[in-house]
Amino acid sequence: MEYSEPILLPGNPSCQGCPHGLGLKALGIGLDNPVIVIPAGCSTIIAGIHPKATINAPVLHVPFASAPAVASGIAAAFRREGKDRQVVVWMGDGGADIGFATISGAAVRNEDIIVIVSDNEAYMNTGIQSSGTTFWKAKTTTSPAGKKEERKDLAAIMLMHRIPYVATASVGYLPDFIDKLKRAKEVKGFRFIQLHSPCPPGWRFDSSKTVEMARMAVKCGAWILWEYDGEFRFSPASKPYKNKEKRKSLAEYMRAQGRFKGISDEEIAEIEKAIERQWKFLEAMEGL
């Protein structure tokens, strides 16, 4: 793996063990010359406080719900100039909730942009509020007794927009994420990657365990790595877990996180069934 100039500079103000830092570093490796659009979220802060800036690329901060639309405008301007640069939206799951129509609209127009949702499964920047992708039964400050609804499958929803490239990725498997960025770079049109990003303060686990937590999520089957570039396939890291027997313990993954404190065996069994349904749903995509 070749490092050119690092895109995320040292000394940035992210929390200890922050998954976005890992994702941003990988972004700089996977893409050449990205132009980055960032809506409100943790990355607004990670990008630095004037007069300091921590991202070594053109960065445009924009309102919460606007990012894919602003990126569409930038891409149009670049097209006018014949500039060959990747226009990337880097947002959280909060930006994907409030800006859902904006993502959907840009996807429908097949805009020549890459949208990456670094999904830490809650609104972390405002202090751990529940989002559309918050894990079922996770405690957040707006679901103190545990979230009563299942998470939405954002990547699958984007797949249904008939766009040329959709993938899921994980900060626990950065080479896989980088490979996906490299493949996305070669595709023209709207590309979407949902990056699973376990958040130590938000999920309540030790800040040294971000990568471990991300890998546990994949190994227990709760986060599934896949890719679509014209055909759907499971990514190598997730492939073994198509076989239910091979999956590691979901209870172990959940009980390693403070946000599931007090969860019962019955509830875990219920979630396990939902995970199995998700696998069946995605398996049906294979070969389509």
Partner: protein, 372 residues
């Protein structure tokens, strides 16, 4: 070239003649025809530009923010609820000091649903840092759009020109469309204070509080100074086209003892009413505002000095009064303020005549069509 066009068609032609490169828009009555016309021009190759069919007004202004910040002359248009839906972006583009032009076809705000004109929507932009103009007729809507690009790009602030729903947007009038060469002569190539996308720099990041205050002060001062930029642009436009388009128009005002202040399409009816009253010997005139921001307080004060002033607003600041009434009071100290024509209620020549007559006779009272 003299031809016949509706306001919406004329604005689309102005956008084309300004060599706009990126257009993003979402339809809303009565603005829709502008962007339909532009989409048609782009599709047929008549206009060499990108047209982004966004899914909302918030995204319309967001998309042209992106293209403008990346260096391209950009345009959008909206009305009423569309403007309110994009309101967050309205402030963002001004605070980011990005030049672009947006037409507001003025339409009242619901409920009840109503697609007809008043100026409340346009005036919600008053404090956001935009240059705000308002057209009286189709020709002005056309002229202000072309001047808007130049003024906006000179001061690095967004520009909007309002025109009344249906009365201008859908009404055909005779307009003089200058040749491309004339417009090119008036409108230089786009310039802006920074272009995003080439170098590794950050725009819009968090900063110390004093930094925000410094930037707002700079915008405040630039917008006040824009008065002279508008006047210069107007003079040069007049040299090329013969049409004046300055901060405000004075109609039979010089020797007037009574002055009416208003803006928009119905100013034409008000002028007719003033002509009638003049024939009856009433010394009355009109100050028609073409710009609300910057508001040329001192110049207005001089123009209205010693006169009895009536401000007729087609908008309302709830709990306070008409927005223009509040503004003109800040300029001249005292005036009478009528709020009329809300929700497209028609106020024509005869009603203006009786309204102005009652004002002169000190007998002005509220009635079903207006209130004090």
């Amino acid at each position: 070239m003299r031809t016949i066009m509706t306001g919406n068609q004329a604005v689309a032609h102005a956008v084309k003649l300004s060599r706009t490169e990126v257009i993003a828009a979402y339809p809303i009555t009565p603005q829709t025809v502008i962007v339909e016309k532009l989409a048609e021009m782009v599709d047929s190759g008549e206009l060499d530009a990108e047209f982004i069919r966004v899914e909302s007004e918030h995204s319309a202004l967001a998309a042209v923010y992106g293209s403008a910040v990346a260096g391209k002359r950009s345009f959008t248009a909206t009305s009423s609820h569309g403007l309110l839906y994009m309101y967050e972006m309205v402030w963002w583009v001004a605070n980011a000091r990005v030049p672009l032009v947006m037409t507001i076809v003025t339409r009242t705000i619901g409920p009840p649903w109503n697609i007809h004109t008043d100026h409340t929507d346009l005036l919600t932009m008053r404090d956001a840092g935009w240059i705000i103009a308002m057209a009286e007729n189709v020709q002005e809507a056309f002229d202000l759009t072309i001047q808007g690009f130049r003024i906006s790009e000179e001061v690095s602030l967004p520009f909007t020109a309002g025109m009344d729903a249906f009365q201008l947007s859908h009404t055909s009038e005779v307009v003089d469309i200058p040749a491309q060469q004339t417009v090119d002569e008036f409108l230089p190539e786009r310039k802006q204070s920074y272009v995003f996308g080439d170098e590794a720099f950050t725009v819009g990041c968090i900063g110390p509080n004093a930094y925000t205050a410094k930037l707002r002060k700079e915008t405040f001062e630039t917008l006040r100074e824009a008065e002279s930029v508008i006047e210069k642009a107007s003079r040069e436009y007049e040299e090329l086209t013969g049409r004046e388009c300055g901060l405000f128009e004075e109609y039979r005002l010089d020797d007037a003892e009574y002055a009416v202040v208003m803006m928009g399409a119905w100013s034409g009816d008000a002028k007719e009413a003033i002509d009638m009253l003049r024939e009856e010997g009433v010394p009355i005139g009109l100050l028609k505002l073409r710009y609300v921001r910057p508001m040329p307080y001192r110049k207005i004060q001089r123009a209205l000095d010693g006169k009895n002033v009536l401000v007729v607003d087609r908008d309302c600041s709830m709990g306070a009064g008409g927005v223009l009434g509040i503004e003109i009071k800040a300029s001249v100290g005292d005036c009478t303020n009528v709020i009329a024509g809300i929700g497209g209620v028609d106020v024509g020549v005869e009603e203006f005549r009786s309204m102005f007559r009652a004002f002169v006779d000190n007998k002005l009272v509220s009635c079903p069509n207006w209130w004090l």
